[in-house]
Symmetry: C2
Subunit: 369 residues, 2 copies
């Protein structure tokens, strides 16, 4: 194999596919990026068997072939080369020569034959969404997936399509995040669970422009994201997602409307007093016209009053401050509405159209302290 | 004690003095910042017994007094407060109330009486230098102090004043960095060894403007840096510094002139192939008109040719690439001159006026490999 591409194209391509290179593996071939110039395009591929990414880069093929290069070394070399054309040439024993201007690197590579190609996907049905919207919806929900693997289902997000509506849901046992998005077209009904890791990597790769589009296709076991020159293939999580509808309720005893920034800043300040791993709740005392937030730890105590408008009963309720912060951070509205039933029932933060619903369970606290 | 200052003044002041708060100590009082409002100014002080920093901040004193607050907690609270006036008030048992708008923090503090004040310094003689020059000269020499304490002297830098010249020297047994600076005025001769840590912290605090000035005063055991509202007092390292003059030589057998950027980028690329802790040298083969740089490790090999102009003999010599990189990074000149005697003798990188001299010892290498 012998190819020529510009350094900038290589850097970009390697940056994209590297997201699918596992950080730890016992199989050295998985730590590689495959350069495939066997046909008339140059394709870079990485694949950790759950998630695979392939991207086409521009360049000239002087000799067809394939080679698998260690992703870490290859990407470091490419990044530090002068800003000019790079020649990659495979010699005897897969020794690979990377030349740019007068710099010559020789590294040992592995045969491309050993590399696991991405699964061939026959796209059954697909939806279209803008890069911007996809990136946003991931950011607005990804924080409430469970970060351990004890419940596989909780490590993914539900993507539910019905007519022209996409509903994205994540939950971790303490809270639920829901976003409802209107699509440009209508589609058949479909429910899949996409691994959180796939969504995290996708959101790093896509540009986030509102004009650029992503095509998302589903098969029995896979989801495929296509955008620009790039193809991301991921396994789906098998099984049926939690029935969240029965956890949602529109009844409430107390409704609070508050400036989002003020509430967020106040809770953020309060967390200063909590050391990591310390489970001190923030206590919220809701009264007419104002609500008092209090926290107390070994380090010290804080209390602050925020002006609100309130409907319904007074309430004293405690929360893990991190859960409130996570939800408030991804809401763009200047004012937010919080709905409460009682001190044992979940709080809902949602807008009128229910484009977002954040459900957060309260925590017990010692009212005397 | 009760004082009012703006959040921004507090943040700035706390940021400055925090540099003298030790990261680890068995004495809780050293982890504190002293707020001293006993006289008619508000002073913040931190002191780790080697290095002490004091800064005055603007504000209003409603009740005189002093208090010592844990630096980490205090600075985190202050940073997260709303951007408005902050009231700090000491109550019973040194419980300290920090109020800003509707936010109220209460933290336990320590009596200011337990705090070790900065040593009272009678300034004997002092020099004046711009913030910019001081910051630069520290950056240009600090990398070659020894980072362990086996030789105390090597963990500091020599500041030698003679007439209107300031010479700053650091060395670690493998290399020497020397900068000669012309001062605006002439001073009596003086030689002191300033701890590297002091210089590192100073260079983080000073603004680096060429108009702003720093007054540096010396006493028998201390050095004092005064700039703006801030005073930094540090112990000096006792003893006589190494006699470096006898290590410097102006003889050479080979002189190379090379584009600094090209040389630096080439060595930088080569280090990709070296894992941390791996002591592979870069081998330089100097010939007429060009020099070849080679490195070989388990990961792979690199070679690159650079165009040079050369006087004197051909030479094959090896270096720790990091030492070359460190020196080249802080030289501003577009072209640099390298002087060599033989493969066992140090290389000198210096300009004609000797405003900088970097001496680097070569390393042995296996010429066959």
């Amino acid at each position: 194999m012998k190819i020529i591409c510009s350094k900038s194209n290589l850097v970009k391509g390697v940056g994209i596919v590297s997201k699918a290179v596992p950080s730890k593996t016992t199989m050295p071939i998985l730590e590689c990026i495959l350069i495939d110039a066997s046909m008339n395009v140059i394709k870079l591929t990485a694949n950790d068997m759950e998630l695979g990414i392939e991207t086409r880069i521009e360049g000239e093929i002087l000799e067809h072939g394939i080679i698998a290069l260690n992703a870490k070394i290859f990407s470091e070399i490419v990044r530090k080369l002068p800003d000019n054309d790079v020649v990659i040439e495979v010699g005897a024993d897969n020794q690979t020569l990377i030349t740019c201007e007068k710099a010559k690197f020789t590294i040992a590579a592995q045969s491309g034959e050993d590399f696991s190609y991405l699964p061939a996907i026959e796209k059954e049905d697909s939806i279209t969404i803008s890069e911007f919207t996809l990136k946003e919806v991931i950011r607005q929900t990804i924080f409430s997936i469970a970060d351990n693997d004890t419940n596989k289902m909780m490590s993914g997000e539900l993507f539910e399509i019905h007519d022209n509506l996409l509903k994205v849901v994540s939950l971790d046992g303490h809270r639920i995040s829901i976003r409802n998005i209107e699509l440009k077209n209508s589609y058949g009904s479909r429910k899949v669970i996409v691994p959180g890791k796939t969504l995290q990597e996708i959101s790093k790769i896509i540009g986030g422009e509102s004009e650029a589009e992503v095509e998302i296709s589903f098969t029995q076991n896979h989801v495929v994201f296509e955008f620009g020159n790039t193809l991301v293939v991921s396994r789906l999580i098998e099984g049926e997602y939690f029935r969240i509808d029965q956890m949602l309720s529109s009844d409430y005893e107390t409704k609070v409307t508050v400036n989002k920034r003020e509430l967020l800043d106040c809770i953020d300040r309060a967390t200063l007093l909590i050391k990591e791993g310390d489970k001190k709740p923030i206590i919220i005392n809701i009264a007419d016209g104002s609500m008092e937030l209090k926290i107390k730890s070994q380090i010290g105590s804080m209390d602050e009053e925020i002006i609100i408008s309130k409907e319904g009963r007074d309430l004293l309720i405690g929360f893990n401050p991190k859960f409130l912060i996570d939800a408030l951070r991804v809401i763009e509205d200047e004012q937010v509405d919080l709905y409460f039933m009682n001190a044992k029932a979940p709080c809902f933060i949602k807008d009128e159209q229910q484009s977002y619903i954040y459900l957060i369970l309260p925590v017990n606290f010692n009212a005397v302290a």
